[in-house]
């Protein structure tokens, strides 16, 4: 089942690869495919625990796979930025790009997901760092802000994922307050 999930999630990447040849603005297309995929998977990775609380359905065993898939998409997204968009001009990235909120907000979000992927590698690491995985909420908020800023003006997709994000985070706050009362 997890393998199936894995291949399902990678289908859009294969599609992007096929379309690359004929793409009018290839870098932009790769940004969109990897960015949209990464955000959707990040949102999906928060769904299992919501599902368990709201309808008793336990999908927690898929959470790590979905999270890792999101990491793969975001890693590719960052690679597009470093390799294709900036052409490996690391000095310029550090001096100029990282000063821009749009870029560093995205970069912090990616760093958090990167840290989570690393500390999911073994059971031992996970046991030690699991508490810090709450930082995914910050990563999601920053990633949504980054996507909101990615267009000249935010469109339907950007607004929709923000609404979904607010729902997922809001439900958690609500559940947490109920528990602490």
């Amino acid at each position: 089942m997890k393998t199936l999930l894995f291949f399902l999630a990678l289908i859009p990447l294969g599609f992007a690869y096929v379309k690359l040849e004929s793409a009018i603005d290839p870098i932009k297309m790769l940004y969109t495919f990897t960015g949209v995929g990464g955000i959707c998977l990040l949102l999906l990775s928060l769904l299992p625990s919501t599902c368990r609380r709201l309808c008793g359905l336990n999908l927690l065993r898929y959470r790590k796979t979905i999270g890792l898939l999101s990491f793969i998409y975001l890693l590719l997204h960052v690679s597009v930025f470093v390799a294709l968009d900036s052409e490996f001009d690391i000095a310029n990235i550090v001096q100029n790009s990282l000063k821009k909120p749009f870029i560093y907000v995205g970069f912090i979000a990616f760093s958090i997901v990167f840290f989570m992927a690393l500390t999911s590698a073994t059971k031992k690491l996970f046991a030690r760092f699991a508490t810090y995985h709450k930082a995914v909420y910050l990563a999601l908020a920053l990633a949504l802000l980054h996507s909101f800023w990615a267009q000249k003006v935010a469109g339907v997709f950007e607004h929709s994922v923000i609404l979904v994000g607010i729902f997922l985070l809001g439900e958690r706050v609500w559940a947490w307050r109920k528990r602490s009362l």
């Binding site: 870098i27 100029n96 749009f102 870029i103 000249k152």
Partner: protein
């Protein structure tokens, strides 16, 4: 391998004409209404114009790219959706209003405008503020010829341009507070910018009339400024005293100014403007000051700070 002789290649116009002829034949078998519908869609007669010798040896983007990748928010913020959404846009008859500080306010139909001014081709670089660029062969006439005809008076310091506001054509103008930006779309030029010989009114590209998604039937092209200055589907051209508040400056004054000159030194707050993605290519190229037209236009701005007046 046998070499292809250029004279053996079917010209695009003949090729297209043949396709239409075949479609007509097929249509005739179906019904006469089908024929009349197809006739209505026959490409308009080719434009007569003086070709551009392309002294800068610019490499043209394909027509395919230029007609399928557009920013036309009145249809959609998507780059490709306007192609489908604009298919039924009626661009004829279409009158443009000329008002403000000119000798005689009037409305003129686009066909009459075309008849008034000899058409020429201009192969221009086009650089979008979003970081992509292309090279397009426009067909039209320099704006100064139109201004000479309109005779602006001494109070005319700026030219204001407005895209048509017609929700029956443009779906996003129907969405009220949910629209992507505020309409109608407005742009402006200082009078000396408007009178510059590079500033161009286009009615066609790639040898044919403009398609709706590219701003039919008549649009502005200012090659040394970011693409959003090159306003589409013109409804009004006014000579005014005050600097017009252009749409993108009104939307976000921190990010977009009145001048919008292409400038690799002045970044957009969210992304760099040093390089650009040429449509159809995976690599990038350096963006040139004033989009490569510095020799012609830099003198217009010698007295202003381009970082402040971006």
């Amino acid at each position: 391998m046998k070499k292809l002789n250029p004279k053996d290649i079917t010209p695009e116009s003949l090729f297209e004409a043949r396709r239409h002829f075949i479609k007509l034949g097929a249509g005739a078998l179906v019904s006469s209404t089908a024929v009349s519908q197809l006739l209505a869609k026959m490409p308009e007669k080719t434009l007569t114009y003086k070709p551009d010798a392309n002294p800068l040896k610019l490499t043209l983007n394909t027509e395919e790219q230029a007609i399928n990748y557009v920013n036309f928010y009145e249809f959609s913020t998507d780059k490709e959706k306007p192609v489908k959404l604009s298919k039924d846009m009626k661009t004829s008859p279409w009158s443009v209003g000329f008002f403000g500080e000119i000798a005689k306010e009037q409305m003129i139909d686009v066909e009459d405008i075309i008849a008034k001014f000899p058409l020429e081709e201009r192969i221009y670089r086009f650089r979008c503020v979003e970081g992509w660029s292309m090279v397009v062969p426009w067909i039209g006439f320099p704006l100064y010829k139109l201004l000479d005809y309109l005779q602006p008076n001494a109070n005319a310091k700026y030219v204001k341009f407005t895209t048509r506001h017609d929700p029956s054509i443009f779906p996003d103008q129907n969405r009220g507070i949910f629209s992507a930006i505020k309409y109608p779309y407005v742009e402006g030029l200082r009078m000396d910018e408007a009178r510059h010989p590079l500033t161009f009114i286009a009615v066609g590209m790639y040898g044919k009339r403009l398609l709706p998604q590219n701003g039919a039937p008549i649009r502005l092209v200012v090659p040394w400024k970011y693409g959003f200055k090159s306003i589409k589907s013109l409804d009004l051209i006014e000579c005014v005293t005050q600097e017009p508040l252009n749409t993108w400056q009104a939307e976000n004054p921190k990010e977009y100014g009145f001048y919008a000159n292409v400038n690799p030194e002045v970044d957009h707050p969210r992304w760099t403007q040093a390089k650009e993605r040429v449509l159809g290519k995976l690599g990038k190229q350096a963006t040139l000051p004033f989009n490569g037209y510095a020799k012609e236009v830099a003198h217009l701005y010698k007295d202003i700070d381009l970082r402040k007046f971006f």
